[in-house]
Amino acid sequence: MSNHDKKEIRVAIAGLGNVAAAIVMGIEYYKNIKQNDMYQAGLINASIGGYLPSNIKVVAAFDVATTKIGKNISEAIYAEPNMCHPIILPENMPKNNALCYPGPISDGCYQTKDSKGKVIFDTFNYFKTYNKKDVTPCNITQVLTETEAEILVNLLPVGSYNASRIYAQAALEANCAFINGIPEFIVSEQVEGDKDWVAEFEKKGLPCAGDDIKSQVGATIMHRTIAKVFLDRGVIINDTYQLNIGGNGDFYNMKSESRLTTKRKSKTAAVTSVLPYGDKVSCRIGPSDYVPFLEDKKICYIRVNGTTFGGLPLVCDMKLRVEDSPNSAGLMIDLIRQTKLALDRGIAGRLESISSFSFKHPHIQPPSDFEAKIWVQEYIDGKRER
């Protein structure tokens, strides 16, 4: 790695979808940000331990879409079915030499049939998945090694149990740190019958963070905050829901109820964990529906029914409209730099502070997001090991 700029952070991305597109465009958008710039619209931190967004270099990406594989990443991020808002227009996006490689076809894609055998949903088709006869998947470990990637970010579709583990394994073999953006429980807990990934990463001297990326200001954080205010001010929450609708590939993919088990668990725990009596609260949270014309916009309805002084009812009804993918990229652009700090400092295993702050399903759910933010600052300042 000595050939590269000392400040460079070499990142590979599994799943070159909308969030990946937002990260790549975001690096360009914030290229002129300097060390002491404060309150830049959309950035939580301008500089993290001296690293700026412009220090991040996406060196490789993996995808299964025929529209993306073999192309430069700077071009592939605009290919169908991606629909992230063009923060940077294609013609203004500097061309880089990093490629999008064909990843293996595993369980990232699926088909659902009705009782009569008719195909209702087909993400092979939606994701423009290549035909196994025509394309040989790349050797992920080899690509990671050759491109000298330091960090692998997992942004595969929700429900990719096996595929996520294929990439986690490749990260281990290629000595890459691992950031898991999706609701597969790899970093936060050991799933029954699965290997102890955190121990494996630790053994190899590699840091990891996860699972299931939050948004900067998204449904989870708003819902958690409302719950916290109710708790702190003595209003008991009786029941609550959070309904999310959107029109991007993530929502299309999540039309299948059976793929949502971990997603619902992750999102529900993120909210109920705020309340000491959380297990008694009737709470329904989910990706609720796919509305194509919304494209990458996401709409969230939150309802909280509480009981306040004198046993009287108190109701909070909230609606949030936001561009979905850039909302996650806003955290990822920090996570990549925070993970790089761990690599610099030789810290291996689970990065607790940044996992607690940035993920819906971390190993340690923080008592509040305010507190988690302090942990992250202490970690950046070197006052907290992980």
Binding site: L243, I245, R284, S288, P292, F293, R303
Partner: protein, 350 residues
């Protein structure tokens, strides 16, 4: 039995509870708030008599309606001492899926002969209130009603009135057939249609719109797991058909929220463009209760079915279906037009 309507109920759930409670609630003829027509074509709501009731839940079978209805989510707010028909074991068929098994708690009793029971109870009209997606079960009951010589009202989204085979069979048997997919008295579908209509009438171009709802009853759970795409098609079609709009419209059930119980929350979103392309946005939330929301339409449809029997009208009856159902054999343009057509039908002018 003149001036009474003998009605059998298939599926003693929340919708049935609302209907049966309505018979008592409106028994006092001077009270008529919350209904469209206290008296309709000469029949008062209280002229409807429950002749038989069928269900498959161990919590309901073998009990009188007054007891069995307590097993539902909808609260009992009237005195049901007059509602003594015993709930009889029906055929399960595909009425239960894994996700709803626990909630339904199917009985292991042997099913009774439905057609025979309909006959011996002098039933005139069979009303199907089974869960969405129970296609086999709905078709089975439609056959049984036919054998027993009853009119059939299908409140479920299963294609019966819109199924040509059934329409023909009912026509041949000289019996009325009405459906499919009951429309609410005041729910997201009708409000959505009216708001869109108003935009169109005022020269506003509709750009995009959705009407999505969530509920907590068994019906919502069912919808999520097996009929979301069918119901979605019916609702989106129902909205688009009644207005000539060329914009993306999405309508249907989005999610299951257990603690809502029989409640339903609907979120409407309408975007239009007015003069100079100015954006106009409507953001509406509607809170309703599912069971009772079907009641006002049901009491009208049941009485209209009685008129059809008396008039000897047979086959799928579009005038009644358009008035009360989301997916009638042939869609009519506006709810108002549907109401006028039904009035003509009742008066014997086709």
């Amino acid at each position: 039995m003149p001036n009474k309507i003998r009605l059998a109920i298939i599926g003693v759930g929340n919708a049935a509870s609302a209907l049966i409670q309505g018979l008592e609630y409106y028994r006092d003829q001077s009270f008529n708030k919350g209904v469209l027509h206290p008296t309709f074509a000469g029949y008062h709501i209280s002229d409807i008599e429950i002749s038989a009731a069928f269900d498959i839940s161990a919590d309901k079978v073998g009990k009188p309606l007054s007891e069995a209805l307590k097993a539902n989510e909808l609260k009992i707010i009237v005195d049901l001492k007059n509602q003594n028909a015993i709930v009889l074991m029906g055929e399960i068929k595909d009425g239960v899926i894994n996700e709803t098994r626990e909630m339904i708690n199917p009985s292991d009793k042997a099913p009774i002969n439905i057609a025979e029971k309909l006959k011996t109870t002098n039933t005139e009209i069979a009303l199907c209130l089974l869960p969405s997606g129970a296609d086999e079960a709905v078709e089975f009951y439609a056959e049984q009603a036919l054998v027993a010589g009853c009119a059939f009202i299908n409140a479920t989204p299963t294609a019966v009135a819109t199924n040509d085979v059934f329409a023909k069979k009912y026509q041949d048997a000289r019996l009325p057939l009405i459906g499919d997919d009951l429309q609410d008295q005041f729910g997201a579908t009708i409000v959505h249609k009216l708001l869109l209509q108003q935009m169109v009438d005022q020269g506003v171009e509709v750009k995009e719109s959705y009407a999505l709802d969530v509920g907590g009853g068994m019906e919502s759970l069912n919808t999520i797991y097996r009929t979301r795409h069918i119901k979605r098609e019916i609702k989106s079609k129902s909205v688009a058909a009644s207005l000539n709009i060329n914009a993306p419209i999405v309508a249907g059930t989005s999610d299951y929220v257990p603690h809502l119980g029989n409640g339903r929350n609907s979120m409407l979103w309408l975007v239009g463009r007015g003069f100079l392309g100015t954006e106009i946005i409507m953001d509406v939330k509607i809170q309703t209760q599912d069971g009772p929301n079907g009641g006002a339409i049901l009491v009208d449809v049941i009485r209209a079915a009685k008129i059809a029997l008396q008039q000897g009208t047979s086959g799928a009856i579009n005038e009644i279906s358009c008035y009360g159902f989301k997916n009638p054999p042939k869609q009519m343009n506006t709810p108002k037009e549907a109401g006028e057509n039904l009035a003509k039908f009742i008066m014997g002018r086709k």
